[in-house]
């Protein structure tokens, strides 16, 4: 990637972030809540896309990392009374460690086997949440107490019952995730990651430890997904076993495919379209999932590269 192309991508990301920041001043209350959810799901999808889009590994078990972040932060707050910042940092760390352990095993497999192994780990995670119902309250889940809706940052306290506060925290997390990925992908490490994706055998025979490169991205991906889960649990104050279910492994895949796998902003675009569509359709019909299914089939048949992937192919070849 040339410097000029990198600069264009950086400006594009900054422009998108500027628009997202200003939205909080114009959106009505309900939309602010929607946008907050979307941005957190986008962080989740960004983490997923880091793995699928840039090293070419399709995980069917990313709900595990989302749920790991969610429960690691939520349970320490609920049971041990931890402060929110500490719980969040702990959750991101826990997700990274979990990704390191699972990656070390799962990355010994490829393609379909990799998908199945990651899926199995995620099912273990989902069952673990139910098994320790004494801690997690199983399917019903836990609501964080009112005392846990205030984040004490030392210099300031944040009231998480306030919609705009939540919006800006989610926004900050999204901005950080996008910038981390932008810098990573623009660096030499990013070049090696895409080299592994494009041609694993060649990359190994150029003297790179392919396994280590994949594991590194797996950990980054797991940590990012965990951060999204942690923020989701803390901001909305609810921990439920649904977040560990297969549905939450599939959603980031759908968002990423719709927006464009291997494009930096694709997951965000995918979330906006998909969540927006579900929201509108569910007002009109109870069969909205059927419509979503049809939309996905149409996309995969005619736009297999997703929205931004198609844009890159036709008009903007410099898109990262």
């Amino acid at each position: 990637m040339s410097r000029a192309a990198f600069a264009r991508n950086a400006w594009l990301v900054l422009a998108v972030l500027a628009v997202l920041f200003s939205l909080q001043f114009v959106l009505p209350d309900y939309q602010v809540l929607m946008a907050t959810r979307m941005m957190l799901l986008a962080v989740f999808a960004l983490g997923f896309n880091a793995l699928l889009g840039y090293v070419g590994l399709l995980s069917l078990g990313h709900a595990l990392f989302f749920a790991c972040g969610l429960y690691a932060s939520g349970l320490t707050v609920y049971h041990f009374g931890w402060g929110l910042p500490a719980a969040f940092v702990f959750a991101v760390g826990a997700s990274a460690v979990l990704a390191l352990l699972i990656g070390a095993v799962a990355l010994r497999t490829i393609r379909v086997s990799f998908m199945i192994v990651t899926l199995m780990f995620a099912q273990v995670g989902a069952l673990t949440v139910l098994y320790f119902a004494a801690w997690t309250n199983g399917q019903e889940g836990l609501s964080l107490p009112a005392s846990a809706r205030v984040a004490d940052l030392g210099v300031a306290t944040l009231d998480l019952t306030d919609a705009l506060t939540r919006y800006n925290i989610a926004y900050g997390l999204l901005a950080a995730s996008l910038l981390i990925l932008l810098v990573y992908l623009g660096s030499a490490r990013g070049r090696i990651a895409t080299a592994v994706r494009d041609n694993e055998g060649r990359t190994e025979m150029l003297g790179f430890n392919v396994f280590a490169a994949k594991l590194e991205m797996f950990v980054l991906s797991g940590a990012m997904s965990g951060a999204a889960g942690a923020a989701y649990g803390l901001l909305f104050g609810y921990l439920g076993a649904t977040f560990a279910s297969f549905q939450y492994s599939i959603e980031p895949l759908l968002f990423t495919l719709l927006g464009g796998a291997g494009t930096l902003l694709g997951p965000l675009v995918g979330v906006l379209f998909m969540v927006g569509l579900i929201d509108k359709l569910s007002e009109l019909t109870t069969a909205y999932l059927l419509v979503i299914g049809v939309v996905l089939i149409v996309l995969i048949l005619w736009f297999p590269k997703g929205i931004l992937g198609t844009v890159r192919e036709r008009w903007l070849p410099w898109l990262m």
Partner: protein, 243 residues
């Protein structure tokens, strides 16, 4: 050349696939600075043998020593880091990346081991060595086949290897391209040892200092091109058989 310390030594090297003895007890020694050709009929185990040297396959038995170090248990990427570069029999490049970006990946590999690698200069140098500097921004997948092979050699060169293994590099090239390729390998040999698997006897005879003949996984003969040409066993096993 007898007193030169060998760069690469293989001792009792074996690789069996089930009942098939692809490489069956090969002793092999390659002095630094030489151009060595490996020839042999189809199925003689040539590609398996160099895969054992480069680390793409693990031997069933035997040892590989490179620059005085036992590398038998080292994975392929570590051997590359120590100076063994390998170009694939079937062209193996990053089709969607530009020609220059292909080479940059190789330069990056070197930059991780050595200090002070001038990234763009090293990239350009490797491209110039094979004459692809004008195509630097072309996507590699759009290159003609012969140019793709040259790009692969450029990636090997950008690693600055001690040993460059070329697996059937002239396969599918035109006569003019082959002539240019012979000149290129001679230039490469000024700074690196070259191990060449080749079917084209004209190329072998023009380039090789010495030739090792493999047949049924074993070394049938080894010697100068003149010796090999005169060897009746080799003629029977290989040169006499129409390809």
């Amino acid at each position: 050349m007898a007193d030169v310390t060998p760069l690469l030594v293989a001792t009792g090297l074996k690789r069996h696939f089930g009942g098939l003895r692809a490489v069956d007890g090969v002793d092999f020694s390659l002095p630094a600075g030489e151009i060595r050709a490996i020839i042999g009929p189809n199925g003689a185990g040539k590609t398996t043998f160099v895969s054992l040297l480069s680390g793409r396959l693990e031997p069933s038995e035997g040892r590989v020593t490179f620059a005085g170090e036992d590398v038998t248990r080292l994975p392929a990427y570590r051997r590359v880091q120590r100076g063994i570069a390998y170009t694939f029999q079937i062209t193996n490049i990053y089709l969607t990346k530009s020609v220059a970006d292909n080479v940059r990946v190789a330069v990056e590999s070197r930059a991780r081991r050595e200090r002070g690698v001038e990234f763009e200069a090293a990239t350009l140098e490797a491209l110039q060595a094979v004459g692809l500097e004008d195509r630097a921004e072309t996507p590699a997948g759009e290159l003609a086949y012969g140019h793709q092979r040259l790009l692969e050699v450029a990636m090997g060169l950008a690693l600055r290897p001690k040993l460059l293994i070329l697996d059937e590099p002239t396969q599918g090239l035109s006569d003019a391209e082959i002539r240019a390729f012979i000149a290129l390998v001679r230039r490469i040999a000024e700074t690196a040892t070259v191990l060449l698997i080749e079917h084209n006897m004209d190329v072998v005879m023009a380039l090789a200092d010495r030739i090792t003949v493999l047949a049924r996984g074993q070394v049938l003969a080894e010697g100068t091109p003149a010796e090999i040409r005169a060897n009746s066993e080799v003629q029977a096993a290989y040169l006499g058989t129409p390809c």
